[in-house]
């Protein structure tokens, strides 16, 4: 696990989050290590997705939602008014629970983010298309079908494509919200392999309901309960000797 002491890439301080009157996150403090996989676990409705979506400010799109506190990324508080939201979302990308490729061709899906950020050079786009599909191990399968609709792909291929679409814009952090929940065990294992490969170059934060998955792929694990971060630490430590009784109950399956 310890290649070298990893530096913090994201630091969250006293984060509170509200949907209108309802407080979904309560005073979260957390440091995310660069080029490591951080897993977030916890029962349904405890605020994992909400937390993930504050990191790239996707929650801004929800009417009546409000965040307090600080999230430091690259030396800046992302809640400060100077933040370039579009650039933040490019650097902190997101993979969703259900694969959501656009109803466009495979190639157009991958180059979408680049075109959105003002890149139109054909050669550059083709180069990135190749590189991104290679990175998610789709190139050999799909190189002859680049102009087909992405909606014809299998679930696993679609999810890989969504990851490729993200990598194309060269993010630093990849947020994954239950990326395997719509996939079968074989596809899940392969996506997990992909995550281990990506760990070399990207910081990954993954929300999962699958405890084994968290134990298998992650370096650090955080346990959420009712909007609180109950415990955070080394994945080994969390799964072998949790400090908090509630974490232990959840991990050993004694939780409701």
């Amino acid at each position: 696990m310890s290649r070298q002491a990893a530096e913090n890439i994201i630091v969250i301080k006293n984060l509170n989050f509200y949907y209108g009157q309802f407080q979904a996150l309560k005073n979260i403090n957390l440091e995310i290590k660069a080029r490591r996989i951080t897993a977030l676990i916890g029962p349904s409705g405890c605020g994992k997705s909400t937390f993930l979506r504050t990191l790239n400010r996707m929650n801004d799109l929800i009417e009546g939602a409000r965040a307090e506190g600080e999230i430091w990324f690259d030396g800046k508080n992302i809640f400060s008014p100077e933040t370039d939201l579009l650039e933040l979302r490019r650097r902190v990308g997101m993979v969703f629970q259900r694969p959501n490729p656009f109803p466009l061709s495979i190639a157009d899906n991958v180059t979408y983010g680049l075109r959105v950020h003002g890149h139109f050079d054909r050669l550059f786009l083709e180069e990135r298309l190749y590189w991104s599909l290679k990175a998610v191990n789709l190139w050999d399968e799909l190189k002859d079908r680049l102009n087909e609709s992405a909606l014809n792909l299998t679930g696993e291929q679609q999810q890989r494509l969504c990851i490729a679409r993200l990598l194309a814009v060269q993010p630093e952090v990849v947020l994954m919200d239950e990326p395997c929940s719509a996939l079968d065990p074989v596809a899940t294992a392969r996506i997990e392999d992909l995550m281990r490969e990506l760990r070399e170059n990207y910081t990954i934060i993954i929300v999962t309901h699958n405890m084994q998955q968290a134990a298998r792929v992650s370096d650090y694990t955080g346990y959420f309960l009712l909007g609180e971060l109950v415990e955070f630490g080394d994945t080994n430590q969390i799964f072998t000797s949790p400090r908090d009784k509630r974490t232990e109950d959840y991990i050993t399956g004694r939780f409701g």
Partner: protein, 295 residues
């Protein structure tokens, strides 16, 4: 569960199925009868004078046995496309604004209001056009005011409710996951709409435009009131124009003999033009769907 009960159920099901079939058949047969009637009344004269006489003839003098419909065919096409040029951009812009950029409260208030516009009788549109639009065009741009332009503007407004409400429905049917995926890549709202939402909603939007087009080409009353109705090929958008529907409505009351038959022939040609436009538009949207909306 007795087999008796299921039997009874099956019986009533079959009864309902049968009566629905009858109703459907009678609705279809009414349509078929109307179609047959129009063709039966209109086709003989078309064969007698030749298709060319009707389609390419430029002179409509029924009393002198001259039944050239070219001015009316061109007229119908001009005002219909004029209506689309005015109504489609406006309608799309309104629908995009209401679905993607306005608050939900404003959209909830405006959508029913817009749909109410569809219920205003066409004679009212024509009257308003005659009172305000026609004098405005005459004074600002010259010409008689009664013109292709006036008819296009009025029709453009009349097709708005159709275009807007169908476009709104098809934009709303686009899954939010597309929008989220796009925004999460750092796209702006407008980029998301232009590059993902509209392409995804395309076949629905085309259907809305087709319906709008059908409304425009079939509209009669409002057009008669503002178009001037001269049976000549319009030299400009400021010139008066007569459409196929106007031709029928204006002369049916007093027509007899071959004149009356020629009006039915007008109906036949209108019918065929609408069929062609519908088929072309349907084919292009069906092709979209088959490609899985991919480009």
């Amino acid at each position: 569960m007795s087999s008796n009960g299921t039997n009874k159920l099956e019986k009533s099901d079959r009864l309902i199925k049968l009566s629905l079939l009858m109703i459907a058949l009678s609705a279809v047969s009414v349509l078929a009868i109307i179609t047959i009637f129009i063709f039966e009344q209109g086709l003989p004269i078309m064969f007698r004078y030749g298709l060319k006489h009707f389609l390419l003839g430029q002179d409509w003098y029924p009393s002198e046995k001259s039944f050239g419909l070219l001015p009316m065919i061109i007229g119908s096409l001009m005002v219909t496309f004029g209506a689309l040029i005015i109504g489609v951009p406006l309608g799309l812009a309104s629908a995009i604004f209401l679905t993607e950029f306005s608050s939900r409260r404003l959209a909830g208030f405006l959508k029913p209001v817009i749909e109410l516009l569809a219920g205003i009788p066409s004679v009212v549109y024509g009257f308003i056009g005659l009172m305000f639009l026609v004098p405005f065009i005459r004074e600002r741009f010259g010409g008689p005011g009664l013109s292709v332009l006036a008819a296009s503007v009025i029709l453009g407004i009349m097709i708005l409710p159709t275009v807007i409400s169908i476009t709104i429905d098809s934009i709303r049917a686009v899954p939010d996951s597309y929008r989220e995926g796009s925004m999460a890549l750092g796209a702006t709202k407008w980029q998301t709409v232009r590059m993902v939402v509209l392409p995804a909603a395309r076949s629905g939007i085309i259907a809305g435009i087709i319906l709008g087009m059908g409304r425009a080409i079939g509209e009669t009353m409002a057009v008669i009131m503002v178009a001037g109705n001269a049976a000549d090929i319009p030299g400009s958008v400021l010139a008066p124009v007569r459409t196929l529907t106007s031709n029928i409505a204006l002369e049916m009351a007093y027509a007899s003999g071959e004149h009356r038959e020629a009006l039915f022939a007008t109906g036949v040609i209108l019918f065929i033009i609408i069929m062609i436009l519908n088929t072309v538009a349907n084919m292009s949207s069906a092709k979209q769907r088959k490609k899985g909306s991919g480009r």
